[in-house]
């Protein structure tokens, strides 16, 4: 039972990440490889505040989101001027830079030694210690992320994002300041990813940079793409499939030592197969084939 709850908590955390990335890549057509970096920013900010200054969990989450939004401007203002694949390379660059900072800024992050002993969240008088409590919290966060992205995409703001995805020049011709819309979408996406990070840090109670590599970014992208970009159900399904499928491997008796590799091989091949036979994903509407 505990194990099952654990799986659902992980699914909820990845749902936040996938839904937040969908705002960017499904709704606005910009694939970002930096999502794990914002995930890391949230995790590190709230973890450091909690461990060093005993800041409470809600404040830590807000701080993490704020930091992610500020950094997202640094990332997006230069790189969102770029087109498709150049944007991906630029976000890849930021992902690598941030990873390198987390790994090498020993005074702040303790580098590869990581941050142990992150306190479990306490929200007002609710002490979250059991798996069930945590699942409720994670589900609440996921619903919040889902709701934010849903509201945004069904608003006039979302329609401009769709217009940018379909034809940016056309959106500009209609007098939309497309850069502003893209930067806003990127900031919201970063903030949501950061909230997932805070959640992860306080759940596992230990973080180190290896949880936030570019492979993690590729995994999040795969969830969005395999589930189906541009439809809100897609990322949810993608997160569920890509978290539970490798777990199923445990039951066929695969040793843990190779499970991580096999997991990545599975999502890598799924990504290739989807691109070849169903580029819009399982339930997606949008196939990146403009």
């Amino acid at each position: 039972m505990e194990y099952l709850l654990h799986i659902f908590i992980i699914v909820a955390i990845y749902t936040i990440l996938a839904v937040s990335l969908d705002l960017l890549c499904g709704q606005s057509g910009f694939l970002s490889l930096a999502q794990a970096a914002f995930y890391a920013l949230g995790a590190y900010t709230s973890a450091l505040l909690a461990v060093r200054y005993c800041i409470s969990f809600p404040a830590g989450v807000l701080a993490g989101m704020t930091v992610a939004v500020l950094i997202s401007f640094v990332v997006s203002l230069p790189s969102l001027r770029l087109q498709d694949d150049y944007f991906i390379i630029a976000t890849f660059g930021f992902q690598m830079i941030l990873f390198s900072v987390f790994n090498n800024w020993l005074e702040l992050t303790r580098g590869p030694m990581g941050i142990p002993g992150i306190p479990q969240p306490v929200i007002f008088s609710w002490h979250i210690t059991s798996h069930l409590d945590f699942l409720i919290l994670a589900a609440a966060f996921a619903c919040f992320a889902y709701f934010v992205v849903y509201r945004l995409t069904s608003s006039p703001f979302g329609r401009v994002l769709h217009a940018i995805r379909e034809d940016e020049v056309f959106a500009k011709a209609h007098g939309k300041n497309t850069l502003r819309f893209k930067v806003t979408a990127f900031a919201v996406s970063a903030a949501l990813a950061a909230s997932a990070g805070s959640l992860y840090a306080s759940y596992i109670t230990y973080i180190d940079p290896t949880s936030f590599t570019v492979m993690e970014s590729i995994l999040i992208i795969s969830m969005v793409i395999i589930g189906g970009a541009g439809s809100l159900w897609g990322p949810l399904i993608g997160a569920f499939v890509l978290v539970t499928l490798p777990e199923a491997l445990r039951f066929v008796g695969l040793p843990d030592a190779i499970a991580a590799n096999v997991r990545q091989i599975i999502y890598g091949s799924l990504l290739v197969i989807m691109m070849m036979f169903r580029p819009r994903g399982l339930v997606g509407k949008y196939g990146f084939n403009k």
């Binding site: 694939l31 230069p78 790189s79 001027r81 770029l82 087109q83 498709d84 694949d85 150049y86 991906i88 390379i89 630029a90 890849f92 660059g93 930021f94 690598m96 830079i97 390198s100 900072v101 790994n103 090498n104 940016e168 020049v169 500009k172 570019v214 492979m215 590729i218 992208i221 795969s222 793409i225 190779i258 590799n261 096999v262 990545q264 091989i265 999502y267 890598g268 091949s269 799924l270 990504l271 290739v272 691109m275 070849m276 580029p279 196939g287 990146f288 084939n289 403009k290």
Partner: protein
């Protein structure tokens, strides 16, 4: 200081070779072939396997590694990318597929060989040779001259032969090339073969110098892509210059701030270039959103 410049030169020529290989594939296909990094790693590991399992001499193992890289590159193009082009996939779909391929190949390698760094030379550490006022190991000398020779050869191939001309034709406009009776798919296959052989060469030389790890390819591929963007996309000579500059920049930063910031340098340079001069040093093609 001489030593740093010499190290920069060796690293620069290595990057130049990778940048050229990335450029050879990117210019006719117009998408970032991330799995190129996995081709790099595969070549290095093939070389390692030939050395340790079959006990072949280094030069023969290296040759087999390079050949394996060429075959793998062609296989990827034939098995995946060609099918994607048939269904008129755009650059993003191709890029995503190549990311998937990269993930699969890298993990297959770490499953087979393990995650640790393995040394390939097998011999005792060779003593440095005095060269241009600094010390250099024999394998670094090989990197320097082997890479430089192949770069010159490939640049000449593109400039002076009919084959190079068809390559350039496909790169500048594949539809027009098709109208002229050029078999575009064959040319792209050849580009994959050539690019993969070049990156394989860089891989085995690098492996001989510092050993192999399953994740080595991604950094190499990204270094090459950054160097290509620096030099100017579509210009092979520019890619080579970009690679050499990148090598020097990395060594200078490593000397000034420490080794751990080398990757950061690469990406800071990339972002500065993407923002200020997206067409690169020698490029003419803008890839900016219409302003």
């Amino acid at each position: 200081m001489n030593q740093i410049l010499l190290n920069g030169l060796v690293l620069g020529v290595y990057y130049a070779l990778i940048a050229l290989s990335v450029s050879v594939i990117y210019t006719p296909t117009r998408f970032f072939h991330f799995a190129h990094g996995a081709v790099f790693t595969s070549a290095a590991y093939c070389c390692l396997a030939c050395r340790s399992a079959l006990g072949l001499p280094f030069w023969l193992a290296a040759l087999l590694g390079v050949a394996a890289a060429g075959l793998l590159g062609m296989g990827l193009e034939f098995g995946v990318y060609r099918q994607l082009r048939k269904s008129r996939s755009n650059a993003l779909v191709m890029l995503l597929a190549s990311l998937g391929l990269y993930v699969v190949l890298q993990n297959a390698i770490s499953l087979t060989f393990g995650d640790d760094t393995k040394s390939l030379s097998g011999q005792e550490v060779a003593e440095g040779i005095q060269f241009l006022g600094g010390k250099i190991t024999p394998i670094q000398l090989w990197i320097l001259f082997g890479s430089a020779a192949s770069i010159v050869l490939v640049l000449a191939l593109f400039k002076f032969t009919g084959f190079g001309k068809t390559m350039r034709a496909v790169a500048s406009d594949s539809n027009l090339a098709r109208i002229q009776g050029i078999k575009v798919d064959s040319v792209i296959l050849a580009a994959f073969a050539l690019g993969s052989v070049l990156v394989g060469l860089a891989a085995v030389l690098h492996a001989g110098d510092v050993g192999v790890t399953p994740t080595m390819g991604l950094n190499a591929m990204i270094g090459g892509a950054v160097a290509m963007i620096l030099g100017g996309v579509g210009n092979h000579f520019g890619a080579v210059v970009g690679g050499i500059l990148l090598g020097f920049a990395q060594q200078l930063v490593a000397w000034e701030f420490g080794n751990q910031w080398q990757d950061t340098t690469v990406f800071l340079i990339l972002i500065v270039f993407l923002v200020l001069r997206p067409q690169g040093l020698f490029g003419t093609v803008f890839k900016k959103a219409a302003a």
